[in-house]
Subunit: 376 residues, 2 copies
Amino acid sequence: MTDTFQFKLKATDGGARLGEVSMPRGTVRTPAFMPVGTVGTVKAMYLDQVREAGADIILGNTYHLMLRPGAERVARLGGLHKLIRWEHPMLTDSGGFQVMSLSGLRKLDEQGVTFKSHVDGSLHHMSPERSIEIQGLLGSDIQMQLDECVALPAEPQEVERAMELSLRWAERCRVAFGEQAGKAMFGIVQGGDVPALRIRSAEGLKQLDLKGYSIGGLAVGEPQDVMLKMLEETLPVLPTEKPRYLMGVGTPDDILKSVARGIDMFDCVMPTRSGRHGLAFTRRGRVNIRNARHAEDMRPLDEESNCPAARDYSRAYLHHLVRADEALGGMLLSWNNLSYYQDLMKGIRLAIAEGRFADFYAETQEAWAKGDIDPV
Amino acid sequence: MTDTFQFKLKATDGGARLGEVSMPRGTVRTPAFMPVGTVGTVKAMYLDQVREAGADIILGNTYHLMLRPGAERVARLGGLHKLIRWEHPMLTDSGGFQVMSLSGLRKLDEQGVTFKSHVDGSLHHMSPERSIEIQGLLGSDIQMQLDECVALPAEPQEVERAMELSLRWAERCRVAFGEQAGKAMFGIVQGGDVPALRIRSAEGLKQLDLKGYSIGGLAVGEPQDVMLKMLEETLPVLPTEKPRYLMGVGTPDDILKSVARGIDMFDCVMPTRSGRHGLAFTRRGRVNIRNARHAEDMRPLDEESNCPAARDYSRAYLHHLVRADEALGGMLLSWNNLSYYQDLMKGIRLAIAEGRFADFYAETQEAWAKGDIDPV
């Protein structure tokens, strides 16, 4: 029986890869950026807008969703896709990262982690098996193994311990997930900023013959060159015929540089979170719309964008909305930013297809460096 | 020269009136509900949605807009319509009500009121002339006189003093406004809950031969029957050939009962503010979506509504969004509520046109009283 979950590598251009991850709910064109739908909503956006901006897939956060509305409740309601009205592919994280970063009273051992909800203080236990169970209840198309992510900088012994634990948990998740046609469980490479540990982790995961591989524990405070070096160490170890997902990354520049090294999938709260704080991403780089220079500028963020938020609303109005702390400011800037991210991915994919990724890379960097239009 | 600002009374049915207020930017079908665009945005909504829901006109708050972005700035940018992208009619209040309720350090005398901004503590002076000047700078189609609104209950002497001051200010606003074809300045009837003072106020304003008349100082804490009695005392004094606007009102029931007494225009923050707090207005009455009964109810708020927020999203999802304090919850419920208010106005207008307002009134009240669908 052929698995209906498939990755097809369509072209390469240098290290960059063009592909498609297909599954019953749809096809994800890679390199792909996945907007983050933390608690069952991409913050301050209608999912119609997210889709129209070009997203093939969104991400849900298991930690948030297990606490509210709860995995069993979501399952009784027919699954997360139905509840939030997104009938396209969806990926969920394992919950591990946010258990570590958001919850209180954590006790971590071989078995799993016990934690206190940041919502109501209730006690919860998360094991590799329970994480996979929850992701199944949510109805996730691409599920993540439970892992332990260590904040950098960290002692190598601590990084190694967490990496080895994550490897053992990967195996347990593999067993718990079993054989599910049309769905996938990805392993997560850990190992901090220690190349040997990253390689050991990637090799260990490769032996599990998973449907995809994530790179975790990066973009957690280390410089960009460290992150890129870890990719360069890790990616050659991973099988080329499986998708590679760099978790929680990142800026447009992080994405461009990671694509150049062979990453296929990304997710990050940056476009929506920054949008809610008045920062706009454009093809001319970042624009801080709170800045007084925009107060009487009736030009749009980008008159050539296809996104209404970028094309039809003046900087003066956006500036006013953000300064007045009005919801529409965050709504419009999140929309602009997600559209920009998706436009970037579209440009990347087209460039790889046409064998001119290096040129695209240089032109994009040049436009960012040139910066925003002159003030009025 | 014919004024391009016109009110046409098209039909009456009992006390209820069907009409049209036309001006260069468009025609307002009355009875009309005006969504409140406080600071140049109807909170948590796209103006396209507000328009599609059926709004012919929106309201802007002079107090908020004079502080941020500032009247002179708005004028330099081409006016409020252009800045916020609403090319249809717009009404502004005088700023007086919010100067009294929101700002600090007020000094009120015959000349006007000095107050401290709630945004940055800066000192401002507002006179009748300055209020009209600001509304002109904003580009408002229907402007309001500066008035003094007294919170109820209040001593009759205090109510009378404020009413007489408001009358004198009405005359100064009339002079400041001058002759402006295509635009209007409305006077505001004050007089608290004292019929004789209301009548005196209405008669005084009538002598100024204004293009429209507002009823102010109601829905400020008094019982509904007091409000309705004041309408019954006041409206017969006002000329039938001019539009009557009941300021800051109200609930769907307030609107229905005020239409029955001859009111043509309404505004209220209730649909949007309630929406942001989890309260939905429907043809079956109010629905508190935070209530646990909705947690696993996959039915929409109203499957027969034309509003996507009411028709396409489940109660379970809305419940989750509101409980999780997610922006989309307020976005969807504000949309639902404004759509319901506009549907109610549409139903009212059709009923008056067909001479069956009394039946419509009874059926609407009956449906509200019957209440929401049974729990799942």
